[in-house]
Assembly symmetry: C2
Homo-oligomer: 421 residues x 2
């Protein structure tokens, strides 16, 4: 039985490793079109920033490791240009044919951009290498970033740390795709403090600067799959079952090219993130090896550091919830991460609930400390459709070095609960 996987980063290699673990007899091949496999793409901005000294620090495993330790053949610079599912066969760019019995598609996402000597993106190993070379050789002073999503924020932080003047050009009046004025306000204020200029509702062409980073227009990379007859959902990403199977029997999709079920809305969404890619890959590999694993879905959790400020998001914002047919109510509070005598820093929490059911729908946490932990508490509650009334009673850990006796999460939930009654 031959399992072939297209894509050698997060989802693809998770699939390969999981399949091997479950079935020692499988013949497993991973085809990666670039020279680089198994690296933490989420770390690329921190290479530009300088926290990561060398791109090699982002590498997890080598093709040799996979061959030796897991008997997985990983081929780099192997670009698949066609899938013929009738013949169970792939065609590589050099003309070579690769047969398969089971196939996992992990072709990721892509960002289209015009070519230009000072135009960059920050999605792949090659992108980071090229940007870093430009920074070192050309010593640019003024950077423009197109897009106010998380890559835009990370690029802004990295380039500010490198001493560049940074301006963000954002098509909407909103940051981090949340349609949340409270959140956008907090983040914009912090960007201002860090002397990052934001141009709102920018409709012009490419901005004028020494270097321009395109951090907008990300799309699922699905052409290869679509050409082979694989269906996409309304999001434009590949539609998959809970077992990550596409409409073609024995063909699975995982990672940034695939949709995931949003457990708050019950609808498929496209949220390309490293954690989800790894989880999907694991399930796709398991399913390809015949296991009964499933990936129930996501609750839309993400976190980004914006010039030192942590911003954690999960579930839906109020505007997003309204669009999904809920009747949302929200509460925002500002509190302290810890007691004053432990120099607790400000932490901002927003929670949104459905007025009709009292169910928590989403939340955001903004602050310098313990943002991930608080976001994850909300995410865990969302996973289980927790009512706000219960959330307000959560038994959270308290001791002075770690928290305040009434955590801002609980205070926000109390206030929200009051609005529901």
């Amino acid at each position: 039985m031959r399992l072939v996987i297209i894509g050698g980063v997060a989802a693809g290699l998770s699939a390969a490793s999981r399949a091997r673990r479950l079935d020692a007899s499988l013949d497993i091949t991973v085809l990666e079109k670039t020279p680089h496999i198994s690296y933490g793409a989420c770390g690329l901005p921190y290479y530009i920033e300088g926290q990561v000294r060398s791109l090699d620090q982002l590498k997890v495993y080598t093709p040799e490791f996979f061959a030796r330790e897991r008997r997985i053949q990983v081929r780099t610079k192997a670009e698949v240009i066609g899938i013929s599912h009738g013949r169970r066969e792939l065609t590589l760019s050099g003309g070579e044919r690769v047969p398969y019995d089971k196939l996992v598609i992990a072709t990721g996402a892509r960002r289209e951009m015009p070519a230009g000597e000072n135009l960059f993106k920050l999605d792949t190993w090659a992108d980071a290498e090229r940007l870093q070379a430009f920074l070192q050789q050309r010593r640019p002073r003024r950077a423009a970033i197109v897009g106010g999503g998380y890559i835009g924020m990370e690029a802004a932080e990295a380039l500010r740390t490198q001493g560049l003047a940074v301006e963000i050009y954002q098509r909407s009046g909103d940051l981090l795709k949340r349609q949340d004025a409270w959140l956008t306000g907090l983040v914009a204020k912090h960007l201002e403090r860090c002397r990052v200029v934001v141009h709102w509702n920018y409709g012009g062409g490419l901005p004028d600067a020494d270097l321009v980073i395109i951090a907008a227009g990300m799309k699922p990379n699905v052409k290869l799959a679509v050409d082979a007859g694989i269906e996409v959902g309304r999001t434009g990403a590949l539609r998959v079952t809970e077992r990550m199977e596409t409409n073609l029997h024995g063909v699975y999709a995982a990672g940034d090219c695939a949709e995931a079920m949003h457990l708050v809305t019950g609808r498929a969404v496209w949220m390309p993130l490293g954690t989800t890619a790894n989880k999907m890959g694991r399930v796709a590999g398991g399913a390809a090896a015949g296991a009964r694993e499933r990936f129930p879905g996501i609750v839309g959790t993400s976190i980004v550091r914006v010039c030192g400020l942590g911003v954690g998001l999960t579930g839906l914002s109020e505007a997003q919830a309204r669009k999904e047919g809920f009747v949302p109510v929200s509460a925002q509070v500002a509190g302290l991460d810890k007691n004053r005598y432990f120099r607790g820093k400000a932490v901002h929490v927003s929670l949104t609930a459905d007025r009709r059911t009292g169910r928590l729908l989403g939340g955001a946490v903004v602050g310098e400390e313990n943002v991930a932990g608080r976001t994850n508490v909300i995410a865990t509650a969302l996973y289980q459709r927790m009512p706000v009334e219960d959330f307000a009673q959560l038994d959270l850990a308290y001791a002075p070095p770690f928290a305040t006796v009434w955590d801002p999460l609980l205070v926000a939930a109390q206030q929200l609960d009051k609005l529901l009654h």
Copy 2:
């Protein structure tokens, strides 16, 4: 309508404030036997340690504040020595009678100890004042701590920071009342690194040292209530309903003198902690003011810092689960808090589940960073009786400055899930 509250720290003042908020017409009196009200008792060890410069920093509100802002009369040095529920009347130590219509008992916990010039405890404002004076005037060098619970750990940390040689005398072979060899091993190893000596299974009398801290033998302070006919549960603490009402109609109990429902076992427990005291007080005050609030219970969450190491506990350990009739299975993993290039420190996670139902029963997190956040994720899952299988799929926040792509929580859950099948 007269509401009287016995006890002016966490639970008592939460009750008073909540009642006032719900009913502007109530006549509210708080009786506190000591001169000090409204202070963060959990901060006392950090006063000894030096992080808190003055005990006044632990004060939250003054009696004047309560009188002026909330129309709550707070009387200090007012010790109640008798409750006559038939007459709805209290007797103070001076002989004065105080009538009530509704009563909240928040008499806290107590620790009996022999008198001795170099014998101390660290539970109250007066305890901390006396210990601090001794440290400054007598410059003791060798401290002995009787008890290996969280107060023992906090006292050890505080005195080590002050440069004393510290030895802990523990009656059992276990730390933090968890009956968990893995946890005890991790904490003991860290104590050794901090040059704190632990004497296990200590059965002798009082140890010989320049100063001795009694951090064992804490009991609910219920004599006053019991004398008035209020029932205690099997834990020895006051038995209460979800509305914090005792067996006497119109008499509520809250905080360290009362039991709480453990939501994992469905049985009442006595776990005296500041967060729970505040929540209980809030509900007791609400109930006394006629609201329909309830306190569903706790999942047994706590956190303690041990010489810089964070130790978070929630739910049941394997041994505790077995005693409660579960068929527990556990998994322990060591991982990183963040990626190596963000200098992620070691984090240890243990999870326990019930083999028969697959339900998560408890967990422990040990590490230097983000211990509270991870503990709280487990606590949130426990609150909702989450199966381990679901826990392993949680959509937790990931970006390199904050976490690793497979959080140790998820890795532990995957391993535990494997053991269940």
